[in-house]
Structures are given as structure tokens and as C-alpha cells.
């Protein structure tokens, strides 16, 4: 091609020298030069040569184009239309010929049309450049398809449409205008007089020649649309598969072509029939024999395995006759391709990004595991602690149960072994047995009560209660005990306190526990118990103060623990189970209050508990509110 241009140069120089004013079209130098020199014979020769070359070119190009149109445009479309049942027709050669002839006619007509419309305004070179600029629009999508995995179908389409639109606007439109088909004002003032939109100086860009200007803007639009739409779009699984096939093509060079990505079933006979239909029986046999030879199989004596590679071979053969796109469709119709499941596609595709994702997930999992194991360790510690506490509790409970049991058994055995025991002593022993049995029962009840409170399975009957009434009831209930022990009881009860929301029986249980503790520990000679009720706004508080030995600071915490009594400071072991205060505290805290002790050794002890007071807003039930509204 380049070499031929060497011969053009002298003619071009000659033309320029001979016709310096540029009145003569440069395309015609080869004719006008001999004519100017009166060499009619040479001019005729040149004309005949030029005419035959041009005609030949038109013929060759038209046939090439019509083949392309037929193979890659019309046939695929027709084959896809199931209604035409082309797949089932035995002989398609007639149809192929018809299509090609039709396209030849159409292409010639289009060429003539363009010549009539725009041709006169431009030199041949310009027409070529305009076409190149159009073809260049395919570059981004084509290159992107090969190198960019994230490029999508929609992205490519958008790029092409944008690119062609700009190409049309900046190149074809001016051509049409210059040829007189559109007003020239469009070029000079821009459409609707908008200077920024002038086709030759788009957005004010001037100083470039027309082709460069058009290429710049069209490629910018093309690339921009391709990239932006592709990034916004997420590729479908199918696109992903194809992208991977194209982009990673070099990575997979070790595999048999397509073998890895094709799963299907085909019979060699089907494929043979297919080839026969398009290539004829002879060519089909040749193709089979050639493939069999390469594989070292003696066909047709031995059957050919219709594997992926063989199918690929047949497709290649067919593509030679009807084009790649049609061949693919035909082979696909002969071969029952199993659609790859999305999961499989995912497995195959994008291995790299999958590995990245996987390791990312692994990292996350290991972080989660770490956190979980830390939690487990903490939970385990807590469990161990709870287990130890439970162990201690069981041991203590069993100790507390064994003690009364020891007395009961001992006296029972004594009475059994000694029928001669005096009746007064017998009375005393039986009395002890009864008392110890009561103690045992009380203990079991309290252990169960505490277990219920702690597990949250205790039943609560919360009502609105008047603590003043409750305190005076409890005091009068215990008045006999006080009298027996000679204990003086002083009560400071205000006229009214705010009502509280609580379980009446449970609060009585707490109060009785505190009162009986006070009875137990107050001064044995001159016992004095002071009960004070205080309404402090948010809280209703009850204080029970005794004048006993008091509790030292270290024991003030211990006494609220199960089975712990501040016994070491006393001469005798205090009566009781050691569960009263823990139970009371559980109850008060469940009701939203607090139970605590204030004491100095030698100055008595004051146990106090609070319950949250019901305010006016809490008092109004929803029903009355509504009726008032």
C-alpha cells in the first residue's frame, strides 16, 4: 500500500506545480495533467485504468461487505427467529445467495446515495477519514472488552451511541450542510443561534481541523459513556463469564480452547449433518477426517468423541462459510448446551477476586472467632464462679439441713432405746424434735423461696398499698412477742405517706424479717425497737432500729449474703437460717427499692428499706384520663 503511494508523489508534485492556484481537484491530477499537456492517448489509458480499478474495487468491496452483512447481520437474525424454522431446512445455499445479492444491491444504492448527497463537497480522502472516524468509535468497546473485566454490555452500547451521535453531529451534519441539504447557518451560528453548539467548534473548541475536533469530542463522549455506565451497571453472570473468557484469555492458554467453559452434550452425527448442510457432504467429510487424523482416530471406522474441542472445530469450519455469529448459533442448536448454573459460573469466574473476597471473609471470620472465644472465656470464668458458688451453696444448705436433723435423729434414737425415760424429760425431748422439725421446714421453705426469687419464677401480686397501714398492722401482729420479751416499741408514723406499688405479702415478709431480727438482737434486758416511716417525695422509707450490740463495718456486707450471720462477734450462735436478709433484699430490689443497714458496734443497728412512691401522674389510671378528656 505504502509502496504504491511512491508513484503518486511525482503526480501530486506535478499537479501542484502545474496548477498552483488549486482550481483543479487534486483527485483528478492524474487525468488533468496529461490532458493539459495534450496527451489524449495517455489520458485515455489513465481513464480506462482508473475506471477499471474503481470498478474492481467497488465489486470486491461490495462482495466483501455483502458477505459480512449476510453472515454477521442477516443470518444470525434469521436463525434466531424460530418461526422461520431455518434450523430444520436441509439446504440453505439458495437463501444465502439471495441474501448476499440483496445486500450487494443495497450497498451499491447506499454508496450512490452518499455520493449524491455529500460526495461532491469532499475529496476522497475526507470521505475516508470520516469513515475512519466512525469506525474508530468501535475501539473503546472492543479494547475494553478485551482488557477491562468490568465493562458491561450496556456500557458498550452507551459508549457507541454517544460516540456515533457526536460523530454524526460534528462530521456528517456539516457534510450534509455543505452539500446544501441543510442550512449553512447551522454551521456558522450554531443550532438556534447557540454558538457553543456549533458543530465545527463544539463548546468553543476551535483551532483544530475538523477530523481531529470530531475525534476528540466523539471519543470523549464514547469513552465517558462507556466507563460511567459500566461502573454504574453491575454485569450479569453471563457477561461476567464472557468478560472473564476474553480478558483472561492468556491466563487460560493451557486449557483446551473452551473446554473448561463448555458443558454440553452433542453427537458426532448431528455435527456432521450440520456441516453437510452448509459446506456440502464432501467438505464435511474432509473436516471430520482432518480432525480425526489430528486426534489419531481412524474415522469413520472409529467414532469421534464430540467433546468441547471437537465442537469448537466444527464451529470454526462453519464460521468460514456462514460467519462466526451464525456458526455459533447453528452449533448451539445442534449441541444441547447445559446452561451453567449461576453458582458454577461464580466458581469458574473471577477467581482472583473470589480469592480476595474469600480471604477477606476469612479475616472477618477469624476476628469474629477471636471475639467469640474471648466471650466464651469470660462466660466460662463466670460459669466456673457460678459453679463454685452453687457448690458452696449446696454444701452450706446441706450443713444447715444436717444440723437440725442431727438433733432429731439423736433424740428419736434416745427415746427408742430408752423407754424408761422420765415423762418430763420425754416431754422435753419430743418438744426439741418438734422444734427442730419446724426449723427444718422453715429452712427448706426459705431455700425454695430464695431459689424462686433468684430464678425470677416467683409470682408477684403487685397492688397499690399503703405502707403506713402495713407497718401498723405488722407491729400489732408482733405485739405479743414484744410484750413477752419486754421490748419497748416506738413507732414514728406520719399521717399520710404516698402509696406504693408493691406485693403486700412480700413487703410484710420483709418487715417481719427486720422486726424479728431486731427482737433477736436488741438489748436482752432493756430492749427497744424504733420504727420510722418517711415519705421523701420519690421514695417511701421504713427504718427499723434496735439497741443491740450493732454490726461492725466488715460484717455489714456479709449479713446480706446467704447463710452468713455476724455470729462470730456473739457469744451464742444466733437463731435463724441466715436467709432472711438475702431474701428481703431480693424482694425490695425486685420492687425497685433498696435495703441497707447503718450501724456502729455498741450503738445498735438500723435497717432501712425504700420503695418507689407512686406519683399523681402514675395514680391516674388510663381509663379515667380518657373519660376526663
Amino acid at each position: 500500500m505504502l509502496a504504491i503511494n511512491v508513484f503518486v508523489l511525482p503526480i501530486a508534485f506535478g499537479g501542484r506545480l502545474h496548477f498552483p492556484d488549486g482550481l483543479v481537484d487534486a483527485d483528478t491530477f492524474v487525468l488533468t495533467l496529461p490532458m493539459a499537456e495534450k496527451q489524449e492517448g495517455l489520458a485515455l489509458l489513465v481513464f480506462i485504468g482508473g475506471l477499471s480499478a474503481a470498478t474492481g474495487m467497488v465489486i470486491v468491496e461490495t462482495i466483501a461487505l455483502s458477505t459480512m452483512v449476510c453472515n454477521d447481520l442477516v443470518m444470525p437474525v434469521l436463525l434466531r427467529m424460530r418461526r422461520l424454522r431455518l434450523n430444520e431446512r436441509a439446504d440453505l445455499t439458495g437463501l444465502l445467495l439471495g441474501i448476499r445479492r440483496g445486500s450487494i444491491l443495497l450497498i451499491l444504492l447506499l454508496g450512490f446515495l452518499y455520493f449524491r448527497l455529500a460526495g461532491e463537497a469532499y475529496a476522497l480522502v475526507s470521505i475516508g477519514l470520516i469513515s475512519f472516524a466512525a469506525v474508530a468509535q468501535f475501539a473503546p468497546a472492543a479494547l475494553g472488552g478485551i482488557f477491562w473485566k468490568d465493562g458491561t454490555r450496556r456500557g458498550a452500547l452507551a459508549g457507541l451511541i454517544a460516540g456515533f451521535a457526536v460523530w454524526f453531529y460534528t462530521l456528517l451534519l456539516p457534510a450534509l450542510a455543505r452539500s446544501g441539504w441543510l442550512p449553512l447557518g447551522l454551521l456558522e451560528q450554531g443550532p438556534f443561534g447557540i454558538a457553543l453548539l456549533k458543530p465545527l467548534e463544539l463548546f468553543g473548541l476551535s483551532g483544530l481541523d475538523q477530523i481531529t475536533h470530531a475525534m476528540l469530542w466523539s471519543m470523549l463522549a464514547n469513552l465517558g459513556a462507556y466507563v460511567v455506565v459500566s461502573l454504574l451497571d453491575s454485569p450479569s453472570a453471563e457477561e461476567h463469564r464472557q468478560a472473564s473468557l476474553f480478558v483472561d484469555v492468556f491466563r487460560r492458554s493451557g486449557d483446551a480452547p473452551g473446554a473448561r467453559f463448555w458443558r454440553g452434550t452433542a453427537s458426532a452425527t448431528d455435527l456432521h449433518n450440520l456441516l453437510t448442510r452448509f459446506l456440502g457432504a464432501e467438505a464435511a467429510d474432509d473436516a471430520f477426517r482432518g480432525y480425526a487424523q489430528r486426534k489419531g482416530v481412524r474415522w469413520p471406522e472409529q467414532p469421534l468423541l464430540a467433546d468441547a474441542e471437537f465442537v469448537h472445530h466444527v464451529e470454526t469450519q462453519l464460521a468460514g462459510a456462514i460467519g462466526a455469529a451464525s456458526a455459533r448459533i447453528m452449533v448451539a442448536s445442534a449441541v444441547k448446551e447445559e446452561a451453567l448454573k449461576l453458582e458454577e459460573v461464580r466458581k469458574i469466574l473471577d477467581e482472583a477476586s473470589q480469592v480476595v473476597m474469600y480471604s477477606h471473609r476469612l479475616e472477618q471470620k477469624s476476628r469474629e472467632l477471636e471475639a467469640a472465644s474471648a466471650e466464651l472465656r469470660a462466660a466460662n470464668e463466670r460459669l466456673k464462679e457460678l459453679d463454685r458458688m452453687k457448690d458452696d451453696f449446696v454444701s452450706t444448705v446441706s450443713h444447715e439441713l444436717r444440723t437440725p436433723l442431727t438433733s432429731i435423729r439423736a433424740f428419736a434414737e434416745i427415746l427408742l432405746a430408752n423407754p424408761d425415760v422420765e415423762s418430763t424429760q420425754r416431754q422435753q425431748f419430743v418438744g426439741i424434735i418438734v422444734k427442730e422439725t419446724e426449723r427444718l421446714t422453715r429452712l427448706i421453705n426459705q431455700v425454695l423461696d430464695l431459689a424462686k426469687l433468684e430464678s425470677g419464677s416467683a409470682e408477684w401480686h403487685v397492688t397499690r398499698i399503703d405502707v403506713r397501714e402495713l407497718v401498723s398492722d405488722a407491729l400489732s401482729g408482733m405485739s405479743q412477742v414484744f410484750t413477752e420479751k419486754g421490748i419497748e416499741v416506738v413507732a414514728h408514723l406520719p399521717e399520710r405517706v404516698a402509696p406504693v406499688s408493691a406485693d403486700l405479702d412480700r413487703v410484710i415478709q420483709v418487715l417481719l424479717n427486720l422486726l424479728s431480727n431486731a427482737v433477736k438482737f436488741c438489748d436482752p434486758a432493756q430492749g427497744r425497737i424504733e420504727v420510722t416511716l418517711v415519705d421523701s417525695g420519690d421514695w417511701v422509707r421504713v427504718d427499723v432500729r434496735d439497741n443491740g450490740p450493732g454490726i461492725d463495718a466488715g460484717d455489714q456486707k456479709i449479713i446480706f449474703e446467704k447463710f452468713r450471720q455476724a455470729g462470730d462477734t456473739l457469744t451464742g450462735k444466733p437463731q435463724g437460717t441466715g436467709l432472711g436478709l438475702p431474701i428481703s433484699r431480693q424482694i425490695v430490689e425486685h420492687l425497685g427499692g433498696r435495703l441497707w443497714v447503718e450501724s456502729r458496734p455498741g450503738a445498735g443497728a438500723c435497717f432501712s428499706f425504700t420503695l418507689p412512691a407512686l406519683r399523681r401522674s402514675d395514680l391516674t389510671p388510663a381509663g379515667t384520663k380518657e373519660s376526663a378528656a
Binding site: 450443713h399 436433723l405 438433733s407 435423729r409 439423736a410 434414737e413 426439741i432 462470730d568 451464742g572
Partner: protein
Amino acid sequence: MTRKVLIADDEQNIVISLEFLLKREGFEVLVAGDGEAALQMVAEHHPDLVLLDVMMPKRNGYEVCQRMRARPEWRGIKIIMLSAKGRDVEVSKGVSLGADLYVTKPFSNAELVAQINALLASA
């Protein structure tokens, strides 16, 4: 010769039952309500055997046992620890501190008396 037995326990009812039982068996019975009182009684009366409760105010049974075994002149006194705490750890603790026997409550009267007699006979 009447043998002297000290009952050291803070549970009043248990003391009453043991006292009755041992007196019937012909022992001279001494009683202490806490650890300190027990040590004092040992020092004053030098009993042949001590029935020692573990959970007592002031000094618990283990301490009393330890102190008694630290005095050479009290070596001959037999010690039976009585306790409602029956875990292996507690039993072996009592034995390793020098108790001759560790009996868990509740116990059989007859068995206890037999054990007391056996211990005193071996002395």
C-alpha cells in the same frame, strides 16, 4: 475409773442429746459452747476425749484441734470431730490436723458410743 468426755458444740439441742447419751453410758460429761471455752475446759479438766464440732463461734473446731495437738501434754486426749460438713476436703482436713476420727452429722447414737469406747480402749 470414770472417763471424762468434753462436748464442744454451739448447737444447744445436740449438746443436750449427747450429754444424756454419754451420761447413760457412764461417762463424766463436760460441756463447752464455743472454741475458746473448749480450750479452757481442756486445760482445766484434762478430759480423756473431746467431741469437737467444727462450726463454732470464736474458734472453730479445726483451730481447737490444732492448738490441742500443739501441746505435748494433751497428746493423749482423743479427738472426735463432729460436723455437718461432710465433704472429703473437710474430713481429710480434720484428720490431717490430728483428729482421731471425723464423724458426719447426723450420726447413729449407738455407733458413736461404740467408736468412743473403741478409741478409749486403745489408749
